[in-house]
């Protein structure tokens, strides 16, 4: 019986962990725009052209 109690506590702990993770992701704005990223990935074919890459490239010469 005690095993079940421990399992329950563990599962609840994990579930709460994921819930707090979800709430954190919402708060940090990951769900603000669910449409544009789906379009953005289609234009990713042109590789290595993100802003950070371009600044790196500029520093080398």
């Amino acid at each position: 019986m005690n095993v079940i109690l421990i399992l329950i506590i563990m599962s609840l702990g994990i579930a709460l962990f994921f819930l707090s993770g979800f709430i954190w992701s919402v708060r940090s704005g990951q769900f603000d725009d669910t449409c544009t990223p789906s379009m953005r990935m289609l234009t990713d074919d042109e590789r290595a052209k993100t802003f950070s890459d371009s600044t790196k490239n500029k520093k080398t010469p």
Binding site: M1, I4, S11, L12, A15, L16, F18, L19, F22, I23, V26, R27, F31, D32, D33, T34, C35, T36, M39, R40, L42, T43, E46, K49, F51, S54
Partner: protein
């Protein structure tokens, strides 16, 4: 025309292409490589690529220089038409610290972030281009686009680049930000959206866990658990359900409480009642140890409801995006291009040789000079340069007394010029959505109530009442029959299974879909409810000139002694101030040969003509009767020679100079193609009438067209037309008036459905309910039939929903259905009803848009709108009461 407009008006644009093609079939039509607009000439080109204008070429070169040709691979004709070089001074005001404080999201002196609303964002290539903005100019950092909101968040280093320069870069590639104060204050809903996500998350979390706890019960493993675990599971479930009930369902509570306070029954009341009943029953069962309660059902119900709401929100956003996008109705203005470009603003009074061109509203940029004739609307906030402005702000304020303005004064968008034409300089970007909102202003809603709306409202009020009554009586019945547990079950099941979705959603979704379908073929509706009224029309009144007859540039002849150059010059100077279709044709006839002179004391009498003083001469142009009645009849030489029977229908415009009649212009009017066909179809089902301000020289022709027993009235003043419609109303007819926006404005407003026909220059009349492109007039019958079909679909949806509810509620009232099954059934029914409504409307609409045009449209939009179309699949479940459109 910008790309946005191009796609929005795909069918319309196709129409113009065809027209142009017919005129000079020898010239092959070339589309601009950048924006897809048809190129008028081949002066702008780079290699093999053709461009419609210098602006597009500049953008193309700019992108190519920076290695961003990829832009053109992403979509067909992705660009937004360039408006020429953007001037930085125009945006200099953005560098004021106060304004920056309001605009910037964040700044620490070395790094700033700003969010702009860019109305021209429309496709995947736009997203790519704007997110690669840093490649165009050093100092700009990462940028991120929110496609649905059409917003771009841009980071930049204020030490390297000022905010005004950032905006200049944006404007130079065609994305001019919309900077209105309203725009600045509209940034709150993000927190609401976040809260909704958390609500779903909490509900989903609780749903999953409670399901796990109730699994043993479902599987019949109770004996294993023992009483301790049983009790523990029960209390844990209660603890999990509480935040769901209080927090996740919080919006339902709020809206139900609000409706109780207002003593109105909304659709949320039965839901909240059901939730309370379920929770209290569960508490009772668990605490007393009699059972497990229905917490799994309760939490599941809330979870499904919230998911449904999220999907509905998403669909709504899509529709709003699409609607915004499609609402670019065809408005054009006359732009004046001074040959010596933009030398300075000081030379107001000097008439420099300038050319006038008709451009669509979306092409008008800040700094442009435009000409506003009598009756034309001010499209954007602007500064008066020339002329005596007498502005009628009745569209905006409802105050009908015109306000006089003098040179240099600031004119607000939405006013209407009365009197001679004025020249203004645009100060703020044109906002189509503002004009659309003006169109939807309540002052122009017809007094006859929007009966469908009230019908829906009345039904839903009654629906809630009936549902609660049935639930209570079912509960009472089972309690009296000695089975209180079953009574409770029946009570909650009835409340939950009852689905008012069709009432709340069928009408807006069907009519919204239909409205979008119509916009594709050049029919623009004020709102979806207009469609509903169109379905009830039983008599149609037509105007003649410009409505049934098409204006073509050929066939203007003058009867009388030939006019001298000076006289023609005066006539041109006068007629260019008027928007009447005949004046517009005369003006465009002379336009290339003359430059306008100043006109003093210009006056336009609607339905009669125009008058004014040019170079000390009094010129009057208009109907013969009007000119003769104004002056004592003077010797006139021609009277009988105006009869030109035959295939063309002519309008006579009489010209008098200094009181003496000089002669008559005969403007050949040919009937629009297929008009006879249209009347054949219409006359079977509708009362038809023709009210024309012209003389009755065409009576013969039209009586054969309309049929002998129809009402044909000529020489009608605008007041006559208005009275005619009023009389028809008194006889109980539902009247649709088809006419132009200026002369028929009164009649358009008086009628149940006012249809304004626009040709090249449309006088925007908020009094109209429908804006119809001239080329679509012959399809009026199909359009009317489509409106009837849509109305039928709405009623059918009501029927489907009624049948579903009848069956569902009766089973639930019998106490057989478990609340969990109800919670699953309810969203499914909503979904099916909405899918049914939208799908059927789309299917019917596709038949309306003939296959050719449809293919053309798909070709133009395939890259962007089709991808959104898949998402648009209406997945909508119950409840719109607190998702504000």
């Amino acid at each position: 025309m910008s790309d946005v407009l191009n796609i929005a008006l795909d069918a319309g644009a196709a129409g113009t292409t065809l027209k142009m093609g017919a005129r000079d079939a020898s010239v092959e039509l070339v589309s601009c490589f950048h924006c897809g607009e048809t190129c008028a000439d081949t002066t702008c080109s780079s290699g093999e690529k053709a461009f419609c204008c210098q602006g597009c070429l500049i953008i193309h070169d700019l992108l190519t220089e920076n290695g961003m040709q990829h832009f053109y691979d992403l979509s067909h004709y992705p660009g937004v038409r360039g408006k020429g070089a953007a001037r930085r001074e125009q945006w200099a005001f953005l560098d004021e610290p106060e304004l920056q404080q309001r605009l910037l999201d964040f700044t620490d002196g070395t790094f700033s972030r700003v969010t702009f609303h860019l109305p021209t964002i429309h496709c995947i290539a736009c997203v790519w281009l704007l997110e690669n903005l840093f490649r165009l100019r050093p100092g700009i950092g990462n940028s991120q686009v929110n496609f649905l909101k059409r917003e771009a968040t841009i980071c930049f280093e204020p030490q390297k680049i000022s905010l005004s320069e950032v905006v200049t870069v944006l404007a130079s590639i065609g994305y001019e930000p919309a900077l209105t104060l309203g725009e600045l204050d509209r940034r709150k809903p993000v927190s609401v959206r976040k809260r909704q996500w958390v609500q779903i998350g909490v509900a989903g979390f609780a749903f999953g866990n409670i399901m796990l706890f109730s699994l043993p019960t479902y599987l019949g493993l109770d004996s294993f658990n023992g009483p301790l675990l049983h009790c523990l599971f029960g209390y844990l479930s209660l603890a999990f359900a509480l935040p769901v009930l209080v927090y996740s369902a919080g919006d339902y509570w709020k809206s139900a409480l609000l409706s109780m306070r207002q003593r109105a029954l909304t659709l949320d009341v039965p839901i909240v009642l059901g939730l309370v009943a379920l929770y209290s029953q569960s508490v009772f069962e668990i605490v007393s140890g009699r059972g497990e309660g229905y917490l799994d059902s309760l939490v599941g119900l809330i979870f499904f409801l919230l998911c449904g709401r999220a999907f509905q929100q998403k669909t709504h956003d899509r529709m709003a995006f699409d609607r915004d996008y499609k609402s670019f109705f065809p408005l054009s203005v006359t732009r004046i291009t001074a040959n010596t470009t933009t030398a300075g603003h000081g030379a107001h009074g000097v008439t420099r040789p300038a050319t006038e061109e008709t451009v669509s509203l979306s092409q008008v940029a800040v700094g442009d000079r435009i000409l506003l004739r009598n009756g034309e609307l001010i499209p954007a906030d602007s500064k008066l340069l020339q002329g005596a402005a007498l502005i009628d702000y009745s569209f905006v304020t409802g105050e009908s007394a015109p306000v006089a303005k003098s040179g240099g004064d600031y004119l607000y968008a939405g006013g209407k010029q009365t009197g001679a034409a004025i020249e203004v300089e645009i100060v703020k970007p044109v906002s189509q959505s503002y004009l659309t909102s003006l169109w939807n202003h309540e002052a122009f809603q017809k007094n006859r109530d929007d009966n469908f709306n009230t019908l829906t409202n009345r039904y839903s009020r009654r629906f809630t009442f009936i549902v609660i009554t049935v639930a209570v009586s079912a509960a009472l019945f089972w309690v009296l029959a000695g089975n209180p547990m079953r009574g409770l079950k029946a009570f909650t099941s009835v409340l939950i299974v009852a689905c008012p979705c069709a009432l709340a959603l069928a009408a807006p979704f069907t009519l919204g879909t239909a409205q979008r379908m119509l916009a594709r073929i050049g029919v623009f509706l004020r709102n979806g409810l207009v469609l509903e009224r169109m379905a009830q029309v039983n008599s149609i009144v037509f105007d003649k000139t410009g409505t049934l007859t098409a204006a073509n540039d050929t066939g203007i002849s003058f009867q009388g002694a030939p006019l001298g150059k000076m006289e023609e010059q005066w006539i041109y100077s006068l007629v260019r101030h008027s928007t009447h279709p005949l004046s517009a044709r005369l003006a465009s006839h002379f336009q290339n040969d003359f430059s306008p002179e100043k006109v003093a004391s210009f006056r336009e009498t609607p339905g009669c003509g125009v008058e004014g003083w040019v170079s000390g001469r009094e010129i009057k142009i208009g109907s013969r009767g009007w000119i003769e009645s104004a002056k004592a009849s003077l010797p006139s030489e021609n009277n009988g020679d105006r009869q030109n029977a035959g295939p063309t229908v002519g309008s006579g415009v009489c010209v008098a100079i200094d009181g003496a009649i000089r002669g008559t212009f005969v403007l050949a009017n040919s009937l629009r193609a297929d008009t006879d066909c249209l009347f054949q179809k219409l006359s079977a089902n509708y009362q038809l009438a023709l009210l024309s301000g012209d003389n009755d020289s065409d009576r013969q022709r039209f009586s054969s067209l309309f049929g002998n027993d129809r009402v044909l009235r000529f020489n009608q003043t605008p007041l006559d037309k208005l009275n005619f419609i009023r009389d028809a109303h008194a006889k109980g007819a539902t009247v649709m008036m088809v006419g132009d926006g200026l002369n028929d404005a009164g009649a358009l407003k008086q009628s149940d459905v006012g249809v304004a026909v626009v040709e090249k220059i449309g006088t925007f009349s908020p009094a109209s309910d429908v804006i119809l492109e001239g080329t679509q007039v012959p399809r009026l019958f199909e359009i009317l039939r489509f409106s009837q079909t849509s109305a039928r679909i709405v009623r059918l949806s009501f029927g489907v929903s009624a049948a579903y509810n009848l069956v569902g509620i009766s089973i639930a009232a019998a106490g057989i259905l478990s609340p969990l099954i109800c919670a699953v059934l309810m969203p499914i029914s909503s979904l099916s009803v909405v899918l049914f409504a939208c799908g059927l409307t789309r299917w019917v609409g596709r038949h309306l848009i003939s296959n050719d045009e449809y293919r053309m449209m798909n070709g133009a939009e395939s890259a962007d709108v089709d991808s959104t179309g898949a998402l648009l699949t209406p997945f909508v479940i119950r409840h719109s009461s607190f998702s504000k459109p």
